[in-house]
Subunit: 238 residues, 2 copies
DNA sequence: CACGCCAAGTGGTCCGACCACTTTGGCATG
DNA sequence: CATGCCAAAGTGGTCGGACCACTTGGCGTG
């Protein structure tokens, strides 16, 4: 990290830096096409294998996008592109980290919900209402759709803030597999009913454009989930 | 995303999924060593090139770590490992996204600072005080150390919450290059003095273990930075 | 003019060789 | 016997070239 000079560095890594520099210098802009892998490797003086590994690295970072037979393109470089890797955290996280992720959500979601109360458009509020009804219409059984609907509801709220970066981060912290795991042990009791009530309160606060109420409702909701998960983790402590 | 079946998928991608599955199934745990590239490629029925690209992908995601001549290891899978890629966002972000990142920080830092007020240990508070003095001792000139010290101060606060995930996310949103860019146009005037005053207020609130005051001070601080950056971006609008 | 096919060019995969580095165990040295 | 060195084995890193799979655009056919 703090090494003053650039001593020895892998060939592939140099290729990565070169491409990043090309983008930073505006040599290739978002959405534009890069030179051929063969061209790039020749220009940078590396083998095509190494060049491919460099491209693979930038692809997994969401900076580049390779289209088979068509070429390699720079993505739009939107936050959503670059933060997609985020979901990996939620995928492999366990125990303590899971709680930590929820704690971060407890910081973000209330603030985001409050912001949404001030910024959401009427159309966005209508969409939220529709999502809410869809969730109400379903039976009290646990299924993939339940998780999906809950996810969609919260994601729609965060998107209503108009902050794409925030939405991308929150989405990463709320990956499908993550939520499925949280819900797994809690399909019983009146949990679903309570969550629905929370959602209704949040929606009402948004429609009333009341940031304070929205913040409070969102906080309560996340705390509820966090509490259940905490009890669950404490039970089967590793 | 929603395609029902797993039709065609790249060989490399399958290799990535296989390794992820190995980790998820506990076949290899954090810190343990994976089979050799040659073994893995043979076992999964792919070429070593593709296997290497898969490993490269997981390496850039922070899941694996390759040591030249020694083998490929699974990282500790700590949040810090997996969120390192985050800094890429701050590196390539421009204009609007920069503001959005700051908006997210304005949501996170106050909450984190308030939490730190309740949780920080005496040793951590002492360290914060030392960092503060170090910043005070420096002249009012803009240099890399100024950015570095500011970064360290805020990072130390967030780490005091004991939430490693939160710390990793915040670090990603506060990368060195990001801050350098924010500061670039504002080395003049009494900016440095004002920021110092903010830091002192935050530190006092932490020492007093006053969450409310800490939240307020942190909010003020981030808003100040956000406001300056906003004016800057509005000036040289693209 | 519209349609469909084909060839050129691109990324995707595979192979085999060699290089650079780490590790280890045995050998020579004290 | 203890110590340190060094060579060999094994690992990831790089290379070059071949071939496959796919997209694209233009050409020829109806």
């Amino acid at each position: 990290m703090h090494e003053p000079d650039g001593e020895r560095t892998s060939v592939t890594q140099r290729a990565v830096e070169s491409v990043k520099a090309m983008i930073a210098d505006g040599e290739v802009g978002p959405g534009e096409r890069l030179p051929t892998e063969r061209d790039l490797s020749a220009r940078l003086g590396v083998s095509r294998s190494s060049m491919r590994e460099a491209i693979r690295a930038l692809t997994t970072l969401g900076v580049l996008e390779a289209r088979h037979g068509a070429g390699v393109y720079v993505t739009a470089l939107r936050p959503a592109d670059l933060l997609e890797t985020f979901s990996v955290l939620a995928e492999v996280s366990q125990g303590r980290t899971l709680l930590e992720v929820l704690q971060v959500r407890r910081m973000l979601e209330p603030a985001a919900t409050a912001l949404a109360a001030a910024r959401a458009s009427d159309a966005q509020l209508d969409r939220l209402g529709a999502l809410l009804e869809r969730m109400d219409g379903e039976p009290d059984t646990f299924c993939a759709d339940t998780v999906s609907a809950d996810l969609g509801f919260h994601q729609a709220i965060v998107e209503s803030t108009g902050n794409a970066t925030l939405a991308a981060i929150n989405e990463g912290l709320s990956s499908r597999t993550f939520n499925a795991r949280v819900w797994a042990g809690h399909r019983e009791a009146g949990l679903t009913a309570k969550l629905r009530e929370d959602h209704v309160l949040i929606h009402e606060a948004l429609v009333a454009r009341d940031p304070d109420a929205a913040r409070a409702a969102a906080t309560t909701h996340v705390m509820r989930v966090e509490r259940w998960l905490g009890a669950d983790l404490a039970r089967d402590a590793s």
